[in-house]
Amino acid sequence: MKTQVLIIGGGATGTGLARDLALRGLQCLLVEKKDINAGASGGNHGLLHSGARYVASDPEAARECREEGELLKHLAPHCIEKTGGLFVAVEGDDEDYIARFPGLCEKAGVPARALDLKEARLLEPALSKKLIAAYAVEDGSIDPFRLSLDNLAQAGEHGADLLCFTRVAAFEIGNSKIQSVKLENTLSGESLSVEADIIINAAGAWAGLVAGLAGLSVPVLYSKGSLIITQERMNHRVINRLRPASNADILVPGGTVSILGTTSIRIEHPDHAYPTVEEIEIMIEDAKAMIPALETARYIRAYCGVRPLVGSPGGGEDRKVTRGFVLLDHSAQGLNNFITITGGKLTTFRLMAEKTADLVCDHLGLIRPCLTRTEPLPASSSVRWTEPAGAPRVWLTGHDPQDTVLCECEMVPRSAIDSIVDALKNQGIKADLLAIGLRSRIGKGRCQGSFCAPRIAASLYQQGEMSASQTIDGLREFIRNRWKGLQPVLWGDQLAQAELSEAVHCGFLGLEGEEGENGRV
């Protein structure tokens, strides 16, 4: 198999790059070892930064965020909720930092308007009464799944190819170039060899490991950031703590929920990242000073992402490492067709893609201007199901009496599942519960899949999407996957819910029994 550009990694950067290159008329193939946004692109706040967060630590990143945030609000409005944001400080917060904040914002060109404290509490009644400073900024929330899926959809229309569940097994190197890339399907084990003019390593936290396969050293440190989701939306605007970056500084509203985060914990390997009970405790204990209701809120799930820290000062604090991106042309190390793009932020993904694509064109001797800076991102109809309350709207207006709701918490109808299954088939991705979950709201409500998962699994079987044993294994994997995020937030009502889930899946269905024994589990 041949392609002009091989992109490794299906996160925001990789999918954004696929679209950028495809719009420039380049042929590209994107390979992803799991599914879209499996890494930090799916494990973040969904925060469209105004830049104010970085005015002290990284003015350059602040400026980039502001510019890109403005662009995205115009170009991809369907992925963004223009919530606006607040920076607030409470009694006990660093007053020196508070005093410097407006000046720093001005210097970085980030708009910030001082608010009267009463006004701030009227705007956001959940804020603490011990407020001592408040500024309005232009933060927003962004749906990273929809963003990546839309990028991919348009890239596909322009001829880009996608292989999910496909990992790089080896690079074959000769004459200072990667001659071919050996790929392996992680589900079937089948291998495939691809020749590409140029290879982009957009593997995010895994970029160092991918570069290592090519014999290169790209030192990456891993910083795990965990977040928790409240059952109900608690704020209208993004609320940031006005202080040097710490654990639970930001509460981002998104659709029907709010997301609190994040921690920053150094881990050894990006594959081994799970949110823990300790992190959740630290965050709630910390954030309740800013928003007291967070102490008693019901949380439905936790999750985490791994930030790749490239070029971290040894022994320094991870949060102080630049959140700007790193674009490495490996010609300098003797590989002329290999580029690494990593780091950065969700807000700046487009810029990262643009700069990378510019470098690709340089390498190939092509003069093709970037179009993503001006062309709006089309809203693809097959990926609209990640939007909270989007599915019920389509279902209600569809008026199809035969269209059953399969997921009751989030009201996802059979027609939504069918449309996702079709889209997955077109992309050659196995239509299992995990893949459907990533592209819709199933399993994201309060039952976290206890009831809808067996129903949808049985329905997928009926439609011939999977065999009997795949149905059970797929269900088990889905529940296991949901559990990682549930386990640290199990107390109160959510613990009762988990008890019911275990009664059904273990007590009744016996899914904890020996796996893979057909008919005996």
Binding site: A458, Q462, I472, A496, E502, F508
Partner: protein, 451 residues
Amino acid sequence: MDFWDWKGRRGKTAEFEKVNRMPERETIKADLTIIGNGLAGLGAALYALNRGLSVVQFGSGYPLSLVSGCFDLFSVCPSAGKKEWDNPWEGLKVLRNDHPEHPLARIEEVEIRQAFEEFSVGLGEAGLSYVQDPERNREIITPLGTIKKTFGLPRSMWLGAEALERKAMGRIIEIEGLEGFKAPLIVDRLKPHWKGLSAGRIQFPGFESRPRALAEHLASSLILSANREKLAQRLRREINGAEVMGLPAVLGLFKSSAVMEDLREQIGIPLFEIPTLPPSVPGLRLQETLERKAAEKGTYHLFRHRVGKAEPGKDGGFKVPILHDGETIRTVSSRAVILAGGRFLGGGLQADRKTVREPLFGLPVSQPDSRSGWHRSDFFNRQGHEINRAGLEVDDRFRPFNRQKEPAYETLFAVGSILAHQDWKREKCGSGLALATALGAVKAFLGIKNK
């Protein structure tokens, strides 16, 4: 008297009127207050009524709509090398040896047998027929085609266990619109072990144009003979040489024995039921039957009110407040209280971010040191989650301990899943635990009362 109306709802007005008509200061008097209307609470009521005790019972909703309708006794001991026991009594012997603190390990075999026997007889008298093989667990099919070991079975499921064991020529029928039950999936999974199995599909009479058929609706529609006739007609066409036919458990909600007998006669071959995902019709049948029987025998049901924090009375008994909108409106005065409120779902235990509590008496709860020890990182870990073994510690008479590890009160008992040192979901011992401890507590109370 509490009752179920024609839609199967319990008489709300009746209960409010009854309580509200009472003079303000009057208390309801009974030998026993039972808190909880799950299997343990309803079992305790039945055992108590059989022994002539007067009972007031608090409860809420239909907790048994979440159970399969089968009675698990015991089949898995997570710490033992052997995974599953065909003979529950052998399993319990191992449990007694390895886990003497397990509530079931502390009850004599003969007592457990009596609990099942007496309960089945009570259900039978009320029109719900249960069958068990006294010496072994039986296997039934689940809606995903997995196999579940269980002990006591509704007669309708017993036929399925027999068919599975004999590998009879069987046909599994799915119902259009009933989600989570796909006959071909079940057949596909069982086929390697059960050759003569095939799958069929019908439209349920009266539900043809509806996108979604709910089990309770299907079941209650069969009270009308016209619906049964149409269903039998459609099922007859699906026989295809089968000796026995398996359907999701929707064959009648009220008077289900008569409904199934009528269908069998019209179809000409036996039918068996396969339990469904909740809400479960066999569970609702249990709830209705047990509550109706208890009400007939004079149990005072308080299913529309909340129970308040109980206090010991001067005479050695308890004063239990009846709450409405958070206010105490009347009081129950009883000699003893049985806590049968289940765990977190039932409200018998409550957990916040730091700790697990028993809300009514503030009893100490045996539990892991901190929340990080509550759950394992793999949901399906065969050892089970530590939090599931948290609960109340009791003496040999099922009296929960205070902090000094002595019975907190002379006549306060705790039964069922609220107890510590068991994991009923993994050990498949939920009903055994509920019934055996309920009988044990009732007998212990009688012993104290008659002293």
